[in-house]
Amino acid sequence: MIKNMINKARKRLLQMHFESKVGHVGGNLSALDAMLLVFHEFLKPEDKFVLSKGHSAGALYVTLWSLGRLQDSDLKLFHKDNTLLAGHPPAKGIAEITFSTGSLGHGLSLATGMALGNKIKGNNVKVVCFTSDGEWQEGSTWEALIFANHHGLKNLTILVDHNGLQGFGSTSEVASMSPLWEKLKGFELEMHVIDGHDFDALRAALALPQNNLKVIMLKTVKGHGISFLENRMESHYIPLSENQYYQAIKEIDLL
């Protein structure tokens, strides 16, 4: 199901960003595969999702569009006046988005609070938090990890979009923790390091029984699937030109 959908979603994402002249395409393409699979196959209606890397809002919107939760008419207004779909996830108006995010380092604490609340309630609600790799430079993310780990939140899964590039350099150049997963393994958590574009691997990691906090390190490619965007830092900010947009669509059609 996912494989049939992914190219359609990629194209819709590029169309939305191109029509609205919005950048952040690279980090959306690195996140999109995992987001689609999580929403289509893992989350139940009562479960919670927090997009801590709010700058991948486009991938989230397109994922919700693929589920029929958002319409083309919504996407057409992305990033425009009087839109529901701001550049970062909104605080109100979309049931699947509990929290507005965009300032990095908040999402894991939000997800932790929701996971703790549902642990106290004693239900089976799962919480998924989707972080970037760069935001592990935020101290508050570590505060959240310490707290979540201490409380043994086995209803919380953290996905890390490990694309290796951040706003103004690679993560290894800016503030290296390479490899990040080795740092996290110091906690008593369940760590899975996988290819973030391998659906079977992600499916398997998500399906494994969870006895503690679970972290899935998604080794991804920024700008994934588009030759001239892949692993390019400018894909973090710069919108697609018309030529680039049509070239990108052509590449997806050839896949």
Binding site: L110, T112, I146
Partner: protein, 303 residues
């Protein structure tokens, strides 16, 4: 107020199984009864205030009644963005309890002072502020804040009534002394330090002392009697243990201007600095700011 705070929270927790209390590793020798009463619903979130505030937002989104506690500046200044983005942007009714508001931590130094707290917080959407005056106010404060559907900040201090003073029942506005002198409005516990000296004055010069305990004015409008007194008085004075910008004095002046009420003489006495050249107790720091009763009366009387 810490004992009364603990008692009131224990009472609430016994009635409300949905209540959660998070502390930023503070409450030793004060909150043990609450910890005992709440069991696993009492959570020491550790020395990580940013996380505590945002976890509280996450919990509140799951419909828990969430209270968080720390020394005042650690609950609004350090995690300001978390209060703004995660609590206020989402209108979540998390209750922030800041201990030692104003110069409450006195000689502990400026890192522990909270003299811009409610000014900063009241810039945020939906925020309500409670500044109890007397120890006897705490039960009502917890009840009112607890019943609010909005985020609330409770600036806790130290009740300072005169000896043998009979504390009037809680109200968001209370008149504490009556006379024919200036109108003086104090914010929070500071008011208690003025009562005795004001009452020693002859009626002719004795100020009408009011105390406000809930902000902003949109949610706690001025009582009609106070408006009449302001209109009839030659002098209005606001005293607050808070910096001038963003303080209650500025809000009141703007509010009166909106109402078209002119003030002939307006005195604003406020916390003047985090960094004086010497450290000292709360009363010492108040004196440096001219918030002591002697300086206030001299200001009002023009001595």
């Amino acid at each position: 107020m810490r004992k009364q705070l603990c008692d009131a929270l224990v009472t609430r927790s016994l009635k409300n199984s949905n209540m959660l209390f998070l502390t930023g590793d503070l409450g030793f020798m004060a909150l043990e009864p609450l910890k005992q009463a709440m069991g696993s619903r009492f959570i020491n979130a550790g020395v990580a205030e940013q996380n505590m505030v945002t976890v509280a937002a996450g919990l509140a989104s799951q419909e828990f009644d969430v209270w968080i506690y720390s020394i005042a500046p650690f609950i609004y200044a350090r995690p300001f963005e978390q209060v703004r983005n995660d609590i206020c942007f989402h209108g979540l009714p998390v209750k922030l309890i800041g201990n030692g508001g104003g110069y409450g931590y006195g000689v502990m130094g400026p890192t522990h002072h909270a003299i811009e707290d409610y000014g900063v917080l009241l810039t945020l959407p939906n925020m309500q502020v409670y500044i109890p005056v007397f120890d006897e106010d705490i039960a009502a404060t917890i009840s009112r804040a607890g019943n609010s559907t909005k985020p609330c900040y409770l600036r806790m201090g130290r009740g300072e009534p005169p000896k043998d003073y009979i504390v009037p029942a809680y109200a968001p506005w209370r008149q504490l002394t009556r006379g024919r002198g200036a109108v003086v409005i104090a914010v929070g516990p500071l008011a208690g330090t003025y009562i005795e000296d004001f009452n020693k004055l002859p009626e002719q010069t004795r100020p009408n002392l009011w105390v406000v305990t809930e902000l902003p004015l949109e949610y706690n409008p001025l009582p009609e009697e106070l408006i009449i007194q302001i209109k009839n008085s030659a002098k209005l004075c606001v005293a607050e243990e808070h910096v001038r910008r963003g303080g209650f004095g500025a809000e009141l002046a703007l509010h009166l201007a909106d109402l078209g009420i002119s003030i002939r003489t307006f005195h604003h006495i406020y916390a003047r600095a985090h960094h004086y050249e010497r450290y000292g107790s709360q009363s010492f720091l108040r004196q440096l700011s001219g918030l002591d009763v002697g300086t206030l009366l001299a200001t009002v009387e023009g001595v």
